[in-house]
């Protein structure tokens, strides 16, 4: 039979991470909570809300005290109508994986149900909310997780979040000669065929104009 991490193990790991973060950063604006997914097995994860100025300190705590060794995804979101305090949001998805280097001719075969303490896989969602403005800026964590490097490049390329201290930032998915300030996932750029009604009214597209006509494309 297959094995899996039980809900109790995931709960315990998430609660431990929250307790550790509250213990270290309690009193500052850093908030940590245990949340549960609504799909499949309703597994627990840890959501951390961090102000941008504390992110480097929190990242170091996660990496070196909680053993979070894997930066899987960086998501930037543009909220032009989110109010003064919430113009942009950067979400880091981080994982802890019980992976260690092996001596020759050996391997590590974990049994999920027997894992405990710092070996239990942990999932974190770190949310950094940024105010409205032209240049949303977050400190880079490229030096802590190598995996953050290209994720941050992509987030700058597509969304326009600046990563302070990132070495060798360049376009990755857009053409290298894209104009400065063009980041297609910002909300002022609309895609052209927007609604199916439009398609039916003018199936050939002769009367159609891009909705972002006149803007930087």
């Amino acid at each position: 039979m297959g094995m899996r991490i039980t809900n109790a193990q995931a709960d315990a790991a998430a609660e431990h991470a929250v307790a550790s973060l509250v213990d270290r950063f309690g009193g500052s604006d850093v908030g940590a909570t245990v949340e549960h997914h609504a799909n499949a097995h309703k597994m627990a994860f840890t959501r951390v809300n961090v102000p941008a100025q504390h992110w480097t300190a929190v990242a170091k705590h996660l990496r070196f005290d909680l053993g979070v060794n894997y930066c899987s995804m960086v998501t930037g979101t543009h909220y032009p109508e989110g109010g003064a305090e919430r113009g942009w949001e950067v979400v880091y998805h981080l994982m802890r994986q019980p992976v260690v280097d092996q001596a020759p001719h050996t391997n590590t075969v974990h049994v999920a149900e027997e894992l405990a303490g710092m070996d239990v896989p942990l999932e974190l969602e770190v949310v950094i909310t940024l105010p409205q403005g032209e240049t949303p800026t977050v400190p880079s964590v490229q030096n802590i997780w190598v995996g953050a490097d290209w994720n941050e490049k992509e987030t700058w390329d597509l969304v326009g979040i600046q990563f302070e201290g990132h070495d060798n930032m360049h376009r990755v998915l857009n053409p290298h000669d894209s104009p400065d300030g063009f980041h297609p996932l910002q909300k002022q750029h609309k895609i052209r065929y927007h609604d199916f009604n439009e398609m039916y009214d003018d199936a050939q597209g002769f009367g159609r104009k891009p909705t972002d006509e006149g803007r930087v494309k």
């Binding site: 979101t77 994986q97 260690v100 999932e123 990755v172």
Partner: protein, 379 residues
């Protein structure tokens, strides 16, 4: 001797897609590399913002044309997290069987493409022959050979057809013997061993820190697998264990270990499919009507304001992830932002750097052993 930059790609047999590897060479030795991606960036994340949750599935199919089913499933789990849907168990079993058939087809495509890289042209024809069996099975489910649009939020599009189970069992049992044939051919081929062993070392901890995942980690000696570590579907109810290798060097896993782990993974997929088809709730020869509550749960079409959905999925090349922020403009019909984590997007820059110090002729062997797919990389 003077050093110089040479450009491999975007059209090059090593690339397995469209991307460029710029290599700085000193004679035959690689001294620096640089990866350039983005040739087939289609803006799936942007397009998804104006599609409703069912309409996004076909775009996710097209993220990777050799493992469409796993990518569509991966998206669907995130949408179910966002919309808070419970899936019937029969649908979970069907998804598991479909995903593992896709894993077999994808690994066969990898082996079929890797063989000619190394110099074994026979592999291409053999693997295409066997991949066809699984494409036929998936065609019975989804209706087409490559892009199935099969999973739905809350279940699957339609039930397994009558007789599907018998054909599935016969083909998987046949294929289990074929894996032995492949191994007999490859493990006794001097060319195969010389080109793969001792080349492309990668250590487990380095890989995890760089964001590499999936079979590449298991080749380095740790049985970490999303299917048990961040469980989804019914993998805890069927008979399997994660494939894992014993690397032979302190420098980590070489290309040969990565080939071995994928062969073992194919065996485990066969084992899983044979067990799941017997245990499927409702019986393997029953065919429920489209939309029956055994295969499809009622799902809302609008996401609550401010809700988020996340999925972590063992795709064929590593861990894929979707993150959806819902409730845009108070409508909730479309995602406000959909973010895709592609395993190969993170792996390719890492692999480019592991090539430093090897010979130019080793580049196809190293790159191919990580199983690159550019469709999902560029999104």
């Amino acid at each position: 001797m003077a050093q110089m930059w040479i450009t491999m790609g975007p059209q090059h047999p090593m690339t397995h897609g469209l991307w460029t590897l710029r290599v700085k060479v000193d004679g035959e030795t690689v001294v620096d590399t640089e990866a350039e991606l983005g040739y087939i960036h289609r803006g799936v994340e942007k397009i998804a913002e104006s599609r409703d949750f069912t309409q996004i599935t076909p775009y996710c199919d097209r993220l990777c044309y050799v493992s469409a089913m796993t990518w569509a499933n991966s998206y669907i789990y995130a949408a179910e997290d966002l919309l808070e849907v419970d899936v019937p168990e029969r649908a979970e079993y069907i998804r598991l069987i479909a995903a593992e058939c896709q894993r077999l087809a994808s690994h066969l495509m990898w082996l079929g493409a890797y063989g000619p890289d190394i110099g074994s042209l026979t592999l291409m024809t053999w693997c295409m022959r066997d991949r066809e069996m699984f494409l036929d099975l998936l065609q019975e489910l989804g209706g087409s050979r490559m892009h199935y649009n099969y999973p739905r939020v809350g279940g699957v599009k339609r039930d397994i057809p009558v007789g599907f189970a018998d054909r599935l069992i016969a083909k998987v049992k046949l294929f289990e013997h074929r894996i032995d044939e492949y191994e007999m051919m490859l493990d006794e081929s001097t060319i195969w061993l010389v080109r793969l062993q001792g080349v492309g070392y990668a250590k487990a901890e380095d890989m995890v820190n760089a964001g590499v995942s999936g079979p590449n980690i298991r080749a380095a000696g740790v049985n970490y697998d999303v299917r048990w570590a961040h469980p989804y579907s019914v993998y805890d109810q069927v008979d399997w264990e994660p494939a894992v290798e014993k690397p032979t060097s302190v420098k980590g896993a070489d290309c040969y270990d990565r080939y071995r782990v994928r062969m073992e993974e194919m065996r485990q997929s066969c084992r899983m499919i044979l067990d799941a088809i017997e245990k499927i709730p409702g019986g393997k020869n029953t065919n429920y009507a489209n939309g029956d509550e055994m295969i499809l749960a009622k799902a809302p079409t609008r996401a609550p304001e401010g809700a988020t959905g996340f999925s972590h999925y063992e795709c064929t090349r590593g861990a894929s992830q979707f993150y959806i922020q819902g409730g845009g403009d108070g409508r909730g019909k479309n995602p406000y932002r959909l973010s895709i984590r592609s395993p190969m997007f993170i792996t390719i820059p890492y692999v480019a750097k592991t090539m430093i110090g090897y010979k130019v002729a080793d580049i196809p062997a190293i790159m191919g052993s990580f199983d690159p797919c550019i469709g999902e990389t560029d999104r």
